[in-house]
Amino acid sequence: MVAETNNLGYTDIHEDVVRSIVKTGPKYYIALATAGGTTLLCFFFPWFYQLYYGIGAAGMNHPGVWGTYLASFIFWIGLSHSGTLLSCVLHLTNSSWRKAMYRSAEAMTLFSLVVAATYVMVHVGRPWFIHWALPYPNQMELWPNFRSPLMFDVMAITTYITGSTIFIYMGSIPDFAAVRDRTSGWRNTMYTLLSLGWRGTDKEWHRLHWAYTFLAVLIIPLAVSVHSIVSWDFAMSIVPALHQTIFAPYFVVGAIYSGTAGIVTVMFVLRKYMGFERYITKLHFDNLGKLLLVLSLLWTYINAVELFTSWYSGTSEEYEAVGFKLFGFYAPLYWEMILFCAVAPLLMFSTRFRTSFMPMLILSIVINIGMYTERFLIIATSLPRQYLPDAWGVYVPSAVEVSIMVGSFALFTTLFLVFVKIFPSVSMYEVKETMATPKLGSVAPASGSPA
């Protein structure tokens, strides 16, 4: 790590980051317009159509009353899991390679959560009543049912959005201050407000270090709890194939898995199109690749356990559920998922593969396609296939649902594009820490120590 950045000085990273914010080329506007336009067309327009004509516009109906909206919700919550969680773990374990990439990873968390929360609105059909989920008594003095996993969800996700927002903001304060000094006009006003008057005094650094560490310690168990709770939305029902104790770790591992793959995708894009080649290096892809490999093995193991427990239960409805999943209507999707998420990642045993950018990008996208399929299968193979055969059905998403799914990726991209122009997307002060400190009257030594 140090060997790769030590030929860069403090001013280099400063210039590069400020440039990434203030210098905007036509390509950026084209990308933003495309993403924004797609969001409007594929996400908001079908949603308004659904609001106007009713929830019947979506393909959800008895017995498949849950559909891609919930699958996407799990997917986006899952994608959010790597950023802040990974950043916290790497911060506490003093891994200096985290420093060049964590800011954008955390932004990914934040925006995935925003998209996930929007999906809840889409799914409920009448989003103007969303406040019914908040803890306050209605006119009959009845409070919400805190025994319901859906209420756990409300609590966990609001806490998670709050925590992730604060975490990314806290870590950015020194960088806002640095950018503040280099900008003018409305940007200067914005950064002056955001940086709170940060000066970088020894006292401020000390306070920031401790506050940041405490936040990291609080957010790790929070992130784990969030996806466990999402899994209980399903596991606490008595639907065959959903009522499993393995579901919480299954969801958490799956979430970190798809989130890490998402980080690889975002790192590739930042590196290639935002000019951060010198900071996001092969080392990051190598380390992320190792992490992905471990997660893929864990994920494969949990899938095997899930099949085993279903078989070991010895009940006909569980046999039926497993049989339907492996050989039924959705079987091609199931095997596609196994191929993408369990077999393809084995390529990462090769160091050459892990340190090649393009193959890693392709693999990371493939993994996320597989993970989306996993979430879709959880919903599509369970609810429409419960105990009584005369109540069976097949769920197929409608055009509105497919369009909103595509649109949600555009929504995420739009938010991320706005982010890279407001936040310093590489943490300047922490990258500086990994560089050799300037020495009086001498050139920086060949091997500095990471601060």
């Binding site: 756990f152 604060i166 020894d202």
Partner: protein, 170 residues
């Protein structure tokens, strides 16, 4: 209006030495400004303690109590027995407790950070924009010219690139 003598250094070690010498010469505790946290500040300028941990701890505690009170209290206010099970059911209510403990822990940590680092800054304070890029700055208040000359000597001995006078509003 307090007057400050400000020394700008190119490397953290000389800035730290200057700060230590100023402290040793009987000036007030100097303030360092730097683009990155400087290692070894505490060894020179004394150990720092912050109240943030108390904020985090009591935040978490208050949040936990509030969370449990919310879940259990509302169940007691409007009892709705289900299948003969207890009104206050521990496993689900502990989840609410856990989430709110973390939420309040986070919010109180932020308050603790703002209070203990005196941010957001309301008045103008000594600041050099170079300190956010690649310079290390030592600031110490002085009373009269004699004081200033002594501080200036200490700073230039330690290898300051520039020495300036800056005022600060009280």
């Amino acid at each position: 209006m307090t007057s400050n003598v400000v020394g700008v250094f190119a490397d953290p070690q000389s800035a730290l030495t200057a700060a230590g010498n100023l402290k040793g010469a009987g000036f007030g505790i100097p303030e360092l400004m730097s683009p990155v946290p400087i290692e070894g500040v505490e060894a020179v300028l004394g150990k720092k303690k912050s109240a943030i941990k108390n904020f985090t701890f009591f935040g978490g505690l208050i949040g936990g109590i509030a969370g449990f009170a919310l879940a259990a209290g509302t169940a007691v206010l409007y009892p709705h027995p289900v299948g003969g099970r207890p009104i206050i059911t521990m496993p689900p209510y502990l989840i609410i407790t856990y989430e709110l403990a973390i939420l309040f822990g986070i919010l109180f940590t932020v308050v603790g950070f703002l209070v203990s680092s005196r941010l957001p800054a309301i008045r103008n304070r000594v600041y050099l924009p170079e300190a956010a890029v690649d310079k290390f700055v030592v600031t110490v208040p002085y009373d009269d010219d004699d004081h200033f000359k002594r501080a200036e000597a200490i700073l230039s001995n330690a290898g300051a690139e520039q020495i300036r006078q800056l005022g600060e509003e009280d």
